[in-house]
Symmetry: C2
Subunit: 375 residues, 2 copies
């Protein structure tokens, strides 16, 4: 198996491990910053290493459309193209097809959609997205799944999960790259029985790792956690578990508590570009007046380049003037913050004090305010 996880410690359901990949080992739980178009916006691979990023996610949908797979192949795959030499994961493009495309038509064969860039028509099949991901060459590829809208009917979800399972089988049959692992994805909406059915149909295909998809898409956080708990407790304990699309600090700690090893989200980087920094005392919106003259660092406990070198006042000035350096430095900080949070969670799991850690951490972060549950 090119990708495997060694679980070093458990604390209730939470797991601390090492994800082994052909391009390096990653301590888990781990946050994967999203390199949408072949770049984690504003950061170099060197920056990512400096803030403790272990594995980066690439978006097949975007890269397939721009700059195109042939060019990435010519450049030696996504790693050669972007100069990120560490572990990578690519999604299948399924999520983007279902969240970005205005026009799409699903059939048993695949999904036809219009490009978000120029409206041109494209057709993704399980075979195509698998082959494309083989060319992109990440350590981990994902099956093509359908991610139905949160408000789709139960009947729709029931049909959809069966199609997703059939697609998963086709992806697996197509996949041949031996230095790349293909992960399955569990869907099923917010219906416990459908989640269980999707889980069984995915696990019986015996993937080297499993993702939980279709959650954190607008449902109440409590429901999300119930579904995740149901699925995670039934996933093979010896395989990596990837929760798709969570990046707020509280949510990260909550899914870790349920046994998740990996997760991705654009939230930390997107917030940064809107001038919002994550700190141990909650979010800071640098556009707000109090930070204009605040000479403290973003987070006095943080050791990142942004916190070591600059004040909130300076960063607030850069944010107000929409300066490139604002986006860069706050992004750097937010990714560092999120990586470090995972590292602290890991240490707490290893030391058997995860429950205390998460309670104390959330209490401080939320500061008595309602929990921060935005995606």
């Amino acid at each position: 198996m090119p990708v495997a996880i060694e679980i070093e410690a458990r604390d209730d359901e939470a797991r601390a491990g090492i994800l082994r990949t052909p391009h390096g080992a990653v301590p888990t739980p781990t946050f994967m910053p999203v390199g949408t178009k072949g770049t984690v916006k504003g950061l170099t691979p060197g920056d990512l290493r400096s803030v403790g990023t272990g594995i980066v996610l690439g978006n097949t949908y975007h890269l397939y459309l721009r700059p195109g797979v042939d060019l990435v192949q010519k450049a030696g795959g996504l790693r050669g193209f972007t100069s990120w030499e560490g572990p990578m994961l690519t999604d299948s493009g399924g999520y983007q097809v279902f969240s970005l495309a205005h026009r799409r038509k699903i059939s048993e064969e695949g999904v036809r959609f219009s490009s978000v860039y120029d409206g041109s028509s494209h057709f993704f099949t399980p075979e195509l997205t698998t082959k494309v991901q083989e060319v992109l060459g990440a350590d981990i590829a994902m099956v093509l799944d359908e991610c139905p809208p949160a408000n789709a009917s139960r009947e729709y979800h029931a049909d959809s999960l069966l199609r997703t399972a059939r697609w998963a089988k086709r992806c697996k049959e197509t996949h041949s790259r031996e230095d790349q692992a293909l992960f399955g994805i569990v869907q099923g909406g917010l219906h416990p029985d459908l989640r269980k059915e999707s889980l069984e149909r995915t696990v019986e295909l015996n993937f080297p790792g499993y993702a939980v998809g279709g959650l954190s898409v607008g449902e109440p956080r409590e429901e999300m956690l119930q579904m995740l708990s149901l699925v995670a407790s039934r996933l093979p304990a010896d395989k990596p578990r990837y929760f798709m699309g969570i990046g707020d600090p509280v949510g990260i700690l909550q899914v870790i508590a349920l046994g998740v090893d990996m997760f991705d989200c654009v939230l930390p980087t997107r917030l940064a570009r809107h001038g919002t920094a994550l700190t141990n005392d909650g979010r800071i919106n640098l556009k707000n007046a109090p930070y204009r003259r605040d000479l403290r660092p973003l987070d006095p406990e943080c050791s990142c380049e942004a916190c070591k070198g600059y004040s909130r006042a300076y960063l607030s000035h850069l944010v107000r003037e929409n300066e490139l350096l604002a986006h860069r430095l706050v992004t750097l900080h937010n990714v560092h913050f999120t990586s470090e949070l995972c590292g602290r969670a890991r240490a707490a799991i290893v030391e058997g004090r995860y429950r205390e850690f998460i309670e104390a951490w959330i209490l401080r972060y939320a500061g008595g305010r309602p929990l921060d549950v935005a995606r």
Copy 2:
């Protein structure tokens, strides 16, 4: 004198020296990247050091309006605010008042203008801009000058240079910071006799350094060089000479040939944000089709981070997608390229082969095309 130049070598009129400042020594000739609003767009101070920047320019006009002098003062001056610890120069804001403000009214006392940010009314006097620059705390401050439009009448230029000389005197009388040098500015448009008069009236005030202003504002390059030659040959040989506003490689080499030690321009950084890179074989517009699939570095002879880590194809992709990292990496390259060009010019001067160097360099850079004279 807080700021002085030691001339190490001459080759005809060209000079190689060391500019001594309270915050470090800078080999000259030197290009000063422009940190308009307290940041060289997209780069950190560490980046600037890594590409060989010796001295950074700050814009008094912008910093006075945003974030305001009181905040910069509270942060320990521009150096404390921005974390750039090396030598700095601030302009007086005069150029921006005359180039950016839609409404302005000049009197003997000073100039009233509307803020480019919010239209609010402000009044710059020689005394105010001098005091503001003392608070900003750069190693070199500039007198408040009027930079008349290129098409102003001879009579206007004649009056204006006299007012600029009177303002220079008031700046000098106001200036009291002992760890900061105040430079005078020679104006006079494209009129040789007015240039000489402005020169005499400025030099008689005995500044520790002199700038040549009001050139490279749209006039033919040949005329610019004639005016500069006239002025430079009459400036005190033992004082630093600063040509305001030149940044294209050919222009830089040409003003160095006439004895200029320092120069600034937004061109290298602005070009970068529009996707154009400077190379030894001329400019490259990364939006152009040939670079889409070009896996070579921007400039194979360049050792900057952008050239060592990334291909033209990758950078072209980032430019097309308007990614933050495009602006950052191409800016880094263009500043590195310009700094290195100054270093090569310096070596050629020291070795007494500047004429051969400049001829060979321009021949290759221009590649038989008409000389690149855009500002």
